[in-house]
């Protein structure tokens, strides 16, 4: 199977090359870096909106990028069930584009936070978690200033199983101390109803190689491998 993935390069994206590196060299799946105005969906089996500061995050993180032509292309992919994945800034873009519910607000601390956190898997059916187990705890770093998840439809999300990751302790407890930004219910990542669109604030691409992982874990790989698995199942 010739799977091909696109990483969108918005002006101001800065984890684009990191995602490309991990997908091409670690996961070994053919991945292109595509400038946002040049993106054409028909060539790709999945798309990743990477981290960074698209358009400087001016006005509001993700809002200007949500108006990029790349989003209209991604919408076609969303509709026909291909995976559309947003990491950090990409997650912010996906909420602003209303692919995903909720919003990401300034961290409670008012400060940018760069650190390794633990994520508890709350839904292992999505395009990016199908190779995980419910309740698994993943070590993955965050790096954001506007990552406080908020929604006025919490109940709906819970009922529809749209919460994918929650910040937890190493043991999987959902404590306040484990919540790095004040997110509602410790929510770190969500999906759409169809579960082919996933967004999360932490950076799996920074947790996919032993050499840059403080404890030698590579939990980020499972995220991308799940995505490949999802594509394979869809194409099969």
């Amino acid at each position: 199977m010739n799977i091909k993935i696109a990483v969108i390069q918005f002006p101001g994206a800065n984890c684009d090359l990191d995602a490309i590196h991990v997908l091409n060299n670690v996961i070994n799946v053919k991945t292109d870096l595509v400038w946002h105005n040049h993106f054409k969906e028909e060539k790709y089996d999945g798309v990743i909106l990477p981290g960074g500061f698209a358009f400087g995050d001016y006005l509001r993180a993700g809002i200007i990028a949500a108006h990029s032509p790349a989003i209209e292309e991604a919408r076609i992919m969303l509709k026909d069930g291909r995976p559309v994945v947003g990491i950090c800034n990409g997650f912010q873009v996906l909420t602003e584009a209303q692919f995903l519910p909720g919003a990401l607000l300034q961290n409670d601390s008012l400060k940018f936070a760069c650190k390794w956190v633990n994520l508890k898997v709350e839904n292992n059916n999505t395009a990016c978690t199908n190779k995980m187990n419910l309740g698994d705890v993943l070590a993955i770093p965050i790096a954001h200033g506007e990552g406080r998840y908020y929604t006025d439809k919490l109940k709906e999300l819970e009922e529809n199983n749209q919460i994918v990751f929650k910040y937890s302790t190493e043991e999987g407890e959902l404590t306040e101390e484990a919540n790095p930004n004040g997110s509602l219910e410790n929510i770190a990542g969500v999906c759409n109803l169809e579960q082919n669109c996933v967004g999360l604030m932490p950076h799996p691409e920074r947790a996919s190689e032993e050499i840059i992982s403080p404890k030698g874990t590579i939990h980020g790989q499972i995220f991308f491998k799940s995505m490949i698995e999802f594509i394979k199942r869809r194409l099969a």
Partner: protein, 89 residues
């Protein structure tokens, strides 16, 4: 009539449920500083001052309203948008 230049001022503020950490922090700082107990509440928001050409004030206001809704200048999940003022320059 030739279009004229207008100035519009808008604010974007978080809905109460979405919290306002900036306002809350200022208030906390005030508590720590002595002599500001007359201040009972601080709310923060974003402010935009926009210059545009329009036929008249009404049109100016309509353009801005349409733009704010169309482009989601405010996020309806978390924010309220207020047009403070439309004035001719």
């Amino acid at each position: 009539m030739a279009p004229q230049e207008f100035e519009v001022e808008i604010t974007l503020m978080n809905k109460p449920a979405a919290k306002d950490p900036v306002g809350a922090t200022i208030q906390k700082d005030l508590l720590a500083k002595k002599g500001y107990d007359m201040i009972s509440n601080v709310r923060s928001g974003q402010f935009l001052r926009i210059h545009l050409k329009a036929e008249d004030e009404n049109e100016a206001k309509e353009i801005i309203e349409k733009m704010c809704n169309d482009l989601r200048i405010f996020n309806p999940v978390t924010q309220n948008l207020t047009i403070l003022k439309v004035s001719k320059l």
